[in-house]
Subunit: 114 residues, 2 copies
């Protein structure tokens, strides 16, 4: 056996804030046309009548907590539990209808291009 | 309120196989220079003296189970628990030293380019 150094990797679920004034966004990896982010929500939701309308595609995975995503055209609501993932087409309007009020909600978002 | 259809998204942790002869790989999203995969291991490890040597970068997140990644140059071993993530540079040789023998290990791997 070779001599090996011990190392601790980063952890997306450790040391979560219990209450932040705004959603907490951290870029985990980025490359050509690609960005991986962790987003922590503590009860946050999109303002009424606000819609995200993004030029990038977004693949999103719920890691912890709970959330409801709302989509326009066609109207659709999706309740998310840990492990759930959704691929959001560019310019498909969507908003965060709700996130858990009782524990931090942790999202993994991969923004990418066709 | 508009009338909204109910929908269930895919879930990366549901209906996991308990024992598969080879690691199970599923492409979840792909785009320009980008591929997101779920990999399920049930006790799998890389063969002795086998090293992955990839032309793409790989950002990997352990979602469930446990694993040890081994790296060459410099030699390093990293134990992974759920939530742990590691960014592996292109051509940094690595192998899976072990995955949990008692439950399925679920990886999320994002292959991308600088």
């Amino acid at each position: 056996m070779s001599e090996e150094a011990a190392a601790r990797p980063g952890n997306l679920l450790a040391n979560l804030p219990q209450n932040v004034p705004e959603e907490l966004t951290e870029i985990l990896a980025s490359g050509s046309g690609l960005r991986v982010e962790r987003i922590v929500s503590t009860g946050h939701r999109s303002p009424d009548d606000f819609w995200y309308d993004q030029h990038e595609r977004e693949w999103v995975l719920l890691l912890q907590g709970a959330a409801t995503l709302q989509f326009a055209d066609p109207p659709e609501s999706i309740d998310l539990i840990p492990g759930d993932h959704v691929d959001i087409a560019a310019h498909r309007r969507h908003r965060v209808e709700s996130t858990s009020a009782t524990e931090p909600t942790v999202w993994l978002a991969v923004f990418y291009q066709d």
